[in-house]
């Protein structure tokens, strides 16, 4: 396929994902509010927020790295989108997934985190640093079920390529990994809870402790960029697990439903459970998820 056509489709895909992300975040927030008995925000609120952020005059800068933080973050989000095939079986929507496999995605998650961390660090606000420290610690813990689960999958499918994994899950719900390899599936779903960053794993941004955490110093356009990368990331995280566990998506509707459900699942858990302290969350990952993950590998290595 012509690279420019490809590029055009990719841009379009990204636009779709961005808007879906905004919508999804509004929906989820509304659901949470309703559960709590509040009215909640209107569906269009995120768009308003985004436009407002981009629109206001951005007056302050803490320096070069301060700029780069959002850039890293946004690139990270875009990269997540680029290196994962959005829809299975579609040449148009497979993005740049030919450039790498799951390992690339796994490590590319860190790209945004690192940039954000450094940018926020230059902001110089202690809350940012504390938030980042927590985030990194928690991420290190999430790696346990994440890698265990992915290795289990890799053993199962003998591949690390998204396309191949999704291809293997075609042909009915029964072929989904969550059913063919339920232990690894559960492990990964537990990891997903951490990766999504909702309660009980939301100490990074713990609103009433270190107000919004890492992005404390960011405002205006910076915040707009951060916000858009945030919503894209939410979608793409969900898409990751969708591809790994739930058969991927062959069309945008399926994509939207599945990513929504995965997000809903993590929000739902968050509503039910109170926030963990950082050591609690780390230790938690060392327990059940790790045990399950080991089991998932043991099953396939013998």
């Amino acid at each position: 396929m012509n690279i420019y056509v490809k590029l055009a489709y990719t841009l379009l895909g990204f636009f779709l994902v961005l808007n879906w992300g905004l919508l999804m975040s509004a929906t989820l927030r509304k659901i949470v509010a309703r559960v709590a008995g509040r009215h909640g925000i209107p569906f269009y609120q995120p768009w308003i927020d985004l436009l407002k952020n981009i629109g206001v005059r951005t007056t302050l800068s803490h320096g070069f790295m301060f700029y780069l933080g959002p850039v890293f973050r946004f690139t990270g989000a875009v990269g997540m989108f680029l290196f994962m095939p959005a829809l299975f079986g579609s040449d148009m929507w497979s993005n740049f997934s030919f450039e790498g496999d799951i390992v690339l995605i796994l490590y590319f998650q860190l790209f945004g985190m690192l940039g954000m961390a450094i940018g926020a660090g230059e902001g110089g606000h202690p809350h940012s640093a504390i938030g980042i420290a927590r985030g990194l610690a928690q991420h290190a813990a999430i790696e346990i079920p994440m890698t265990l689960g992915i290795i289990s999958l890799a053993i199962q499918y003998h591949t690390l390529s998204f396309t191949d994994i999704v291809a293997a899950q075609q042909g009915g719900i029964a072929n989904w990994t969550i059913f063919t390899n339920p232990i690894a599936g559960v492990t990964l779903l537990l990891a997903a809870l951490g990766a999504m960053g909702h309660s009980p794993f939301n100490l990074v941004k713990a609103p009433n402790e270190i107000p919004i955490g890492p992005p404390t110093e960011y405002h205006g356009t910076y915040l707009g960029v951060l916000m858009s990368s945030g919503v894209v990331l939410h979608v793409m995280e969900a898409a990751l697990f969708m591809n790994l566990l739930f058969g991927g998506a062959t069309n945008w509707v399926e994509f939207i439903i599945k990513t929504f459900l995965i997000n809903f699942y993590s929000v739902f858990v968050g509503v039910v459970f109170p926030r963990f302290k950082i050591e609690q969350s780390v230790v938690w990952f060392f327990k059940v998820p790790m045990a399950l993950g080991i089991l998932a590998i043991l099953i396939y290595s013998f």
Binding site: T58, M65, L104, A129, I297
Partner: protein
């Protein structure tokens, strides 16, 4: 040829004459004595020369004109010539050293000394048992007399203990002698050897008594309290002579007499030697006083000699080579050491810090320490090598363990001592003076050590191929040490460059890769040296010494050359490390682990050597006996250098406390030497006909755990350089793990990490080192916000940590991606998970590094620090350029590497299609990802920059705090104990079990030594009891059952 009888005649004639000629003045007697000693030296060395360079045959000297056994005869053979030359040289130099000490006691002292040296000559040469007894008595009496040239009660007590002990011993010898005569009718040793003395009960006992006396003269542990006291109590100038000359004579006496019993005593001698060697060195570990420490060491060396003698059947024709090597080094170095003690006059080891007020003395001391431990290029290195090889060839594995254990104990105290000398606090108000007559002999000895070391290497089949050019370069730099740093640095860089230029064409593949890391890395890190002012005394010789060792490793074709290079590298790096301000204990532990590792390598090579027709390094590929042990030992040895978990405790301190430009040398470059060794061993294992997968499996786990513990420990460091050091441990764990996988992918991963770690660790250590130079502290919480002051350093660190963390698109990800594929292909899932999990942990410390140093709030006292030195920036950015190229075009390096690996690991599991890499399970393109990410990044950046173009820069402390600023900038900086929460979760993994274990071991050794040494109560009578008990015990062990 002057007959050796003239040695006796001259000594006695002059001795008697001094009685009257001495009236002409003390100095006259002294000079006459020295001239006579010179004559004696001449006579013996003339023979020595004739034996080794001419075709002289062993010659008997008959006294009284009758053939033996009718009258006494002397034998002058190659060994005798060697031993007596040694004795006479030491005697002559000792005479110079003690010139004025003797003078103070009057001319009699000179006479006694002259007769003493003469008597030792006769002990060496005589072939008559009773004559041996007489001259042994002469030497004992003379010793007892000369002890008293030292003033004070200690010397008197020591002398008394000495003379009663030797009297008992010679009584025993006399009883044995007379019974031997009674049963054989001859006193000639050759006759006794030929006789069937041991067939009768009486003869058996006679032989026992003779031999036990000879053994007791060797001061066997524990019946040697008297010997220790002599070494400690007498004047150190004289102790040196006793330790060297008397020891030689005693050894040779035992050597001569041992034949009377045939071979039946060999194993007893070996065990006695082993007990002495280990016992004495063990007690040395606990010792705080310099003099007594040397005493223990001297006893230990005697034990080693006995051990060698007892193992002579293993050695065959090499016995003399080994003995000469050990004796020569021991004699010269120990003598020099005693004399040094006599000059420096510091009592405790810690007080030896004063020696560095005169750096030349430090150099002398270092020479002696390294010679005694058996480092190249000293003769003992070659001797020890041959010894161990021969032992292994004949199955003497237990003995190898014994020898290496004893040597290791010795290394402990010598290096601790040397560490004190180099680094202990020097706040003493006493100093030491040097007089020419005291220092001249020491310098001569040192020169002899080096020359003989060189000659030994040149004159042994094995050593001839060793490339000494780099070592001469080291010497040149030593000579130029007075020049300013700028010139020396230039010389060093040019020298290395030229060397690399000439060596480059002869290398390929593996060797080329490592040589590039060693040499180019070396040159780059040396560039940073321009940042230093002044002379930087002693830095360049030792740095080049390390590089000489490293390049020696690469060029090595034989196992000996390899080990030679290994030891040089160890020595050089030790000196580099100990230069750090607070690095004394760390340098010690580095050295001890290195020595232990080197011994493991030596043992491994010796096993590998069994049954081989060649000494080439290729024997690693074809180990025929005990392959598990051989490879296991080799790997263990190499892993001490790569600081695998459990044996890593030396690294954080050693690397963390080293100088700013030394840390990258020892981390980015030196550690690769261990990796090179591991690779060599693994190549061998891959070609081995045996199944060694269990060994690689263990190695894999070791690597994986090293990664985990290295990374987790790094997270909780407050010291930036220690953080990087722990990070190195983790990184080396990756490398070891990757190579242990033993597939093409695994090895490719390993090499990727080798290259990566070389580059980013050099960048990080150089940058952090340069920052440390500017801010004057290692503690990260004392820094912060430096991004504004040193942006270039920040960018370097940023790229460095991005790469290290494995985030795409930089080269770290290359390693991670290969890793996943390798691990899954191999099926090492759990090890793999541990490794990947640690990758996440790495993120924590990397962020901490950049956050606490460069981000956050600036400290008040750093408001005016400058950007790091340009001399650091040059190598840093050169390396960064390399890093970027490797990231963008990994295939340039990985493809040829993959082809090379295919020679060893034939699976073809990675396929390259231009920039696209495919494995069985995954795919990835380095340059594609880089381009994609790069363009997205650029676009987003430009958009953001445009939309915020009006934003103005504000001060660092201008932060959102609800409009208030309640804290000082310092306290607002998040740095100290940054991962408190994480710590609460993972603290069980940070318990320093390895450190506790080694501390516990150290404690154990010290306790054992402290308990054992109580037998040396200082009571002369107890010592006599020890001697007779020793006789009794040995009697019942040896012949008690057979009579």
């Amino acid at each position: 040829m002057v007959s050796p009888i003239y040695i006796v005649a001259a000594a006695l004639g002059v001795g008697f004459a001094i009685g009257v000629l001495g009236k002409l003045g003390k100095n006259f007697s002294g000079i006459l004595t020295l001239l006579t000693l010179g004559f004696m030296t001449y006579v013996s060395s003339e023979w020595l020369y004739a034996f080794y360079f001419g075709d002289q045959v062993s010659t008997y000297v008959f006294t009284a004109g009758y053939k033996p056994p009718i009258s006494i005869n002397l034998l002058m053979g190659p060994q005798e010539a060697f031993m007596s030359t040694l004795i006479n040289v030491i005697g002559l130099l000792g005479g110079i050293y003690l010139f004025f000490n003797f003078g103070r006691k009057g001319r009699n002292a000179f006479v006694v000394y002259l007769v003493f040296i003469m008597s030792l000559n006769v002990v060496i040469m005589t072939r008559d048992l009773f004559n041996l007894f007489v001259f042994l008595e002469i030497s004992s009496i003379a010793t007892a007399g000369l002890i008293l040239i030292e003033k004070g009660n200690r010397a008197v007590g020591a002398g008394f203990k000495y003379i009663i002990a030797t009297s008992i011993i010679s009584s025993i010898l006399l009883i044995g002698t007379i019974f031997a005569y009674f049963y054989t009718g001859s006193l000639n040793i050759d006759d006794l050897v030929k006789s069937d003395l041991t067939t009768t009960t009486g003869g058996l006992i006679a032989v026992f008594l003779i031999l036990i006396a000879a053994i007791l003269e060797m001061k066997p542990f524990p019946a040697n309290g008297w010997g220790l006291d002599v070494y400690e109590g007498s004047h150190q100038g004289f102790s040196a002579v006793v330790s060297a000359a008397t020891a030689t004579a005693s050894y040779f006496m035992l050597y001569k007499l041992l034949d009377i019993a045939g071979n039946s005593w060999d194993h007893y001698i070996a065990v006695i030697g082993a007990v002495t060697f280990i016992g004495a060195n063990l007690l040395g570990v606990k010792q705080k006083f310099a003099r007594r420490l040397l005493a223990y060491s001297s006893i230990g060396q005697l034990g080693l000699l006995m051990l060698i003698l007892g193992l002579r059947t293993y050695l065959g024709d090499n016995l003399n080579y080994v003995v000469f090597g050990i004796l020569l080094t021991n004699l010269l170095a120990k003598t020099g050491f005693f004399w040094l003690v006599g000059i420096v006059k510091a009592k405790t080891l810690k007080e030896w810090a004063i020696i560095r007020r005169k750096p030349f003395f430090l150099f002398l001391m270092g020479t002696f320490v390294f010679a005694l431990i058996g480092f190249p290029p000293f003769p003992s290195f070659f001797a020890k090598w041959t010894f161990v090889m021969d032992l292994a060839a004949n199955g003497g594995f237990v003995w190898i363990a014994v020898i290496l254990t004893g040597s290791f104990l010795e290394a402990i105290y010598y290096f601790r001592w040397f560490g004190y000398a180099v680094k202990a606090d020097d706040n003493y108000n006493f100093s030491f003076n040097v007089r020419w007559h005291k220092i001249t002999p020491i310098i001569l000895l040192t020169a002899l050590l080096y020359i003989i070391g060189y000659l030994t290497a040149q004159h042994t089949e094995l050593g001839r191929m060793i490339n000494f050019i780099p070592l001469f370069f080291v010497l040149i730099l030593f000579a130029l040490d007075f020049l300013p740093v700028f010139i020396k640095n230039t010389i060093a860089i040019i020298g290395m460059g030229i060397y690399f230029y000439f060596i480059y064409p002869s290398l390929s593949d593996l060797k080329l890769l490592f040589e590039v890391i060693f040499m180019i890395g070396g040159i780059l890190t040396l560039i940073a040296g321009y940042a230093y002012k002044g002379k930087r005394s002693g830095f360049y010789p030792v740095a080049i010494l390390m590089y000489a060792g490293l390049t020696g490793l690469i060029e090595a074709n034989t196992t000996l050359q390899f080990f030679f290079g290994w030891e040089l590298m160890t020595a050089g790096s030790y000196f580099l490390i100990i230069r750090g301000k607070r690095s004394m204990p760390h340098a010690l532990s580095y050295m001890l682990f290195s020595v232990a590792g080197a011994y493991a390598i030596l043992a491994g090579i010796s096993i590998a050597n069994i049954g081989q027709l060649t000494t080439s390094l290729s024997i690693f590929n074809n180990i025929q006996y005990f392959p598990q042990w051989a490879y296991g030992l080799l790997l263990f040895g190499f892993l001490t250098k790569t600081a695998s978990v459990g044996i890593h405790i030396w690294l954080p301190g050693a690397h963390g406390e080293a100088e700013s430009d030394v840390s990258p040398m020892v981390s980015a470059i030196l550690l690769k030497a261990g990796v090179y060794g591991v690779i060599l061993a693994l190549i061998g294992m891959s070609k081995s006909q045996y199944d060694l997968s269990s060994l690689t499996y263990i190695l894999g786990w070791v690597g994986a755990l090293t990664v985990l513990f290295g990374n987790i420990s790094a997270v909780f460091q407050e010291d930036a350089k220690r953080l990087l050091a722990y990070s190195s441990i983790g990184q080396l764990g990756y490398i070891v793990f990757a190579f242990a996988i033993m597939t093409q992918l695994g090895w490719l991963t390993g090499f990727t990490y080798v290259i990566n770690h070389f580059m980013y660790k050099a960048v990080l250590f150089l940058t952090i080192g340069a920052v440390v130079l500017r801010v004057g502290t290692h503690n990260m919480y004392e820094m912060g916000g430096l991004i504004k002051r040193m942006p270039l350093a920040f960018v370097a660190v940023l790229i460095g940590i991005t790469s290290l963390s494995g985030v795409p698109p930089l080269s770290g990800f290359t390693g991670k991606w290969l890793f996943y594929n390798a691990v899954i292909e191999k099926g090492w899932y759990f090890q793999g998970v541990i490794v990947f999990l640690s990758g996440g942990v790495a993120f924590l410390y990397l962020f901490r590094l950049i956050q606490t140093i460069f981000l956050g709030q600036l400290k008040d006292n750093h408001r005016n620090v400058k950007e790091i030195s340009i001399w650091f920036l040059i190598p840093i950015y050169t390396l960064l350029a390399g890093l970027m190229v490797f990231s963008a075009r990994p295939q340039w390096v990985l493809q040829p590497l993959g082809d090379m690996i295919a020679n060893y690991m034939p699976q073809n599991s990675i396929r390259w299609d231009g920039a696209y890499a495919y494995t069985a399970i995954g795919h990835w393109t380095g340059s594609g990802v880089m381009m994609t990410i790069g363009s997205v990044f650029l676009i987003v950046f430009l958009i953001l920059k445009l939309s915020t173009r009006k934003a103005h820069k504000i001060k660092q402390f201008d932060i959102v705090y609800s409009g208030e600023r309640p804290d000082r900038p310092d306290t607002t900086h998040v740095a100290y104990n940054m991962y408190a929460g994480f710590y609460k979760a993972v603290w069980p993994l940070t318990v320093p079990l390895a450190e506790r274990f080694w501390n516990w071991m150290t404690e154990l050794v010290h306790e054992a030594a402290g308990f054992t040494r109580r037998i040396y109560s200082g009571n002369g009578q107890a010592y006599m009891l020890h001697i007779v008990l020793y006789i009794i015990v040995l009697f019942f062990i040896t012949i008690g059952s057979s009579i």
